[in-house]
């Protein structure tokens, strides 16, 4: 399936990451957005509000982020592609509904343009402090997918990917931008609609009386229908059977919850995406994501100029995490360096998957600005001295 040509602004543009995200959502077929104003994410919904009336979409500014994060799920069950957009404090309010979307297997996209936290923190300045919250923020066990763009171009491209993955796996997909990427303005190429691949919703097409709303296909993902189609579906956040009916037993929980986790875990290799530079001969690997991936480049280049074999692994899909790749690398390199705009989040994931075969060094940053590349360079040098 291809994008709708009437809505895609094909051509070269000069856009900030927030606006590029809006255009990505429109290209992906999103026609329902609910949001609540919050810096530094608001420009995403402002552009949506500007663009939607003439392309058949509905934007509604809800009374809060809690309402926004469930209004989109109502819209999905009525057949729309939908997203909500927020930043830290709003993201915290949305956690319960990430769990609802995971439990009811509602495909939708949550955009979080990260700023300094906790609490109100640094509303206009960057951080990457919500990465673990994205993975684990709602109560209970479930799987999600999270992406991290590092440029306005990727804000466009990866928002489309976020929608496609949400449809393919019927999960909430978390689009983890940061203030720098959101407010950075660069050239963005929007391709012709016929070059934009859209993963269509997995609608059920079999015999009506045989439909079981939560019976999974081989890839553990069930087929969906929408309200108004005559199926009289029941959708609940309670533990449910394949019919969608609540069943309050350990056996029902055991049948449902591992599947919600495994549909991401067992499909992880298909979902994972990362970019590697100079990995083959690397003795040190810098693991980055988002804006930090760009800040690390001068540090890596300087070290390489000095003859140090430094490679770069940039996470594009952060969750599910490329566990196997980190373990492989750990077996043959001397150290990992993990710079991130937080006090250590993805660092722990790298460390866990290194299994002690290679030391992992965190380059923390409290947020508010980005790293000085020098700090990353120093960490590379120190790691080789075993400090």
């Amino acid at each position: 399936m291809k994008a709708d040509p009437k809505a895609v602004l094909t051509g070269a543009h000069f856009l900030d990451g927030d606006h590029a995200c809006s255009e990505g959502a429109i290209a992906a077929g999103c026609r329902f957005v609910a949001g609540y104003p919050i810096t530094p994410s608001t420009e995403v919904v402002e552009r949506i509000a500007e663009r939607f009336p003439l392309i058949g979409g509905v934007f509604i500014q809800m009374e809060d982020e809690i309402a926004s994060s469930i209004a989109i799920q109502g819209a999905v069950w009525a057949g729309k592609k939908a997203m909500t957009v927020t930043s830290g404090p709003g993201f915290s309010l949305m956690m319960e509904h990430i769990g609802l979307a995971a439990m009811t297997e509602t495909p939708c996209v949550f955009v979080d343009v990260q700023r300094g936290g906790p609490s109100t923190g640094l509303p206009t300045q960057p951080a990457q402090g919500d990465m673990m919250q994205a993975r684990w923020g709602s109560h209970g066990d479930y799987g999600i997918i999270a992406l991290s763009p590092n440029s306005p171009q990727e804000c466009f491209d990866l928002t489309i990917k976020a929608f496609n993955l949400s449809e393919q796996y019927r999960v909430p997909v978390l689009f983890m931008m940061d203030e720098c990427v959101g407010h950075m303005t660069e050239r963005v190429i929007i391709p012709p609609a016929e070059e934009i691949n859209i993963f269509p919703r997995r609608f059920y097409e079999g015999p009506r009386d045989e439909y079981l709303p939560f019976k999974p296909d081989e890839d553990l993902v069930p087929k969906i229908v929408k309200a108004g189609d005559g199926y009289k579906i029941h959708v609940t956040g309670l533990t449910h059977d394949e019919k969608g009916y609540p069943v309050m037993t350990a056996a029902a929980q055991e049948k449902l919850i591992p599947r919600l986790v495994n549909k991401i875990k067992l499909n992880a290799e298909k979902i994972i995406e990362y970019k590697e530079d100079n990995i083959d001969d690397a003795e040190v690997v810098v693991v980055t994501y988002g804006i930090t991936s760009r800040v690390a480049i001068p540090a890596i280049n300087q070290a390489r100029q000095e003859g140090i074999k430094v490679g770069h692994l940039r996470l594009i899909v952060v969750w599910p995490f490329p566990e196997k790749r980190i373990t492989e690398l750990a077996g043959r390199i001397k150290s990992f360096i993990v710079p991130e705009l937080n006090q250590g989040q993805i660092f722990y994931e790298v460390e866990r998957n290194a299994y002690g075969k290679a030391p992992v060094y965190l380059v923390p940053h409290a947020g508010g600005t980005v790293h000085n590349p020098k700090d990353i360079y120093n960490a590379i040098i120190k790691s080789l001295k075993g400090k």
Partner: protein, 291 residues
């Protein structure tokens, strides 16, 4: 012998509301004497004569005893999170305006945790019907005080009696802009059925409060007898006063109950306003939104 039994079974008339229920989910969880089932009966009877295409009716509930209504009705039904059926219903309705969307939930769900959503949906005049079963208490969690618990009533979290001012729900709905506001009790089954039918036919935000007994957790703790005693209280103390000023219908502990249709007015709903606005703004470039 077998044939005889079969004959007898066939001669038993089918309950007319059976087709509206997910009979494979019965028995339900509600206590003996609870009023919720009665309200569901009225709702299905209103649906039966509403002329609505049942394939296009969606019901959305929150969490709590009344939150379980969605799960028993044979409609597209959504059992959402605590306090949030209205914003879910907002998305559902705006994404497909063809759907008739009904929110069916309790007083705690709609007016404590969900109060913010109620006032904004009423303000926006979203085209939906909100039915609130008000049993004056949190039933599912064991009888805690609610924003509807009358002053002096005892709850598990007000063991010495409640001293907080409760909401006057019709007044709240009226002042936020609902176009249809009514209150009935679980005793007034005919009036209630008619009222639900009217609300379903009304374009815009319609609201019905239904007072219902919670014998297990409200009546028992307040020494008000069983479900039947509470129904007698409704019967003997209700006064039907259509068009009553909603300011004057506040409830007190075992007080007189003013019931009736208080508000029935016309105001363009959200999507009508949206379409009219954009048509004025964009002219022919705008295609009226139909979902």
């Amino acid at each position: 012998m077998d044939e005889q039994i079969l004959e007898i079974e066939e001669s038993i008339p089918v309950n007319p509301i059976e087709s509206f229920l997910r009979t494979d989910r019965i028995p339900h969880i509600w206590c003996p004497g609870c009023g919720i089932g009665t309200t569901v009966n009225c709702f299905t009877r209103a649906l039966e004569t509403s002329g609505l295409d049942l394939n296009k009716v969606s019901i959305v509930s929150g969490i709590g005893c009344t939150g379980r209504v969605a799960g028993y009705l044979n409609l597209d039904s959504f059992h959402t999170t605590h306090g949030r059926p209205i914003p879910f219903a907002t998305g559902l309705k705006l994404a497909n305006p063809e759907l008739k969307v009904v929110v069916y939930s309790g007083d705690g769900d709609l007016f404590a945790i969900g109060g913010n959503h109620f006032i904004h949906a009423a303000r926006r005049n979203l085209d939906m019907t909100v039915i609130c079963v008000n049993n004056s208490i949190y039933g599912m969690t064991g009888g805690q005080v609610a924003p509807t618990t009358p002053i002096f009533a005892t709850a598990s979290t007000t063991p010495h009696g409640n001293f907080e001012q409760p909401f006057n729900l019709p007044y709240l709905a009226d002042s936020c802009g609902a176009v249809y506001v009514a209150r009935w009790t679980a005793y007034h089954v005919r009036h209630l059925t008619k009222s639900i039918k009217e609300a379903l036919a009304k374009k815009g935000f319609s609201f019905i409060e239904i007072l219902a007994p919670c014998p297990t957790l409200y009546s028992r703790r307040n020494k008000l007898g069983d479900g039947l005693d509470q129904m007698l209280y409704y019967k003997e103390n209700s006064e039907i006063k259509h068009g009553a000023n909603t300011k004057e219908v506040a409830l007190e502990f075992q007080s007189k109950i003013i019931v009736g249709k208080f508000v029935d007015r016309d105001r363009p709903d959200y999507l009508t306003l949206m379409n009219e606005h954009y048509q004025k703004k964009f002219g022919d470039k705008y295609t009226p939104y139909k979902g």
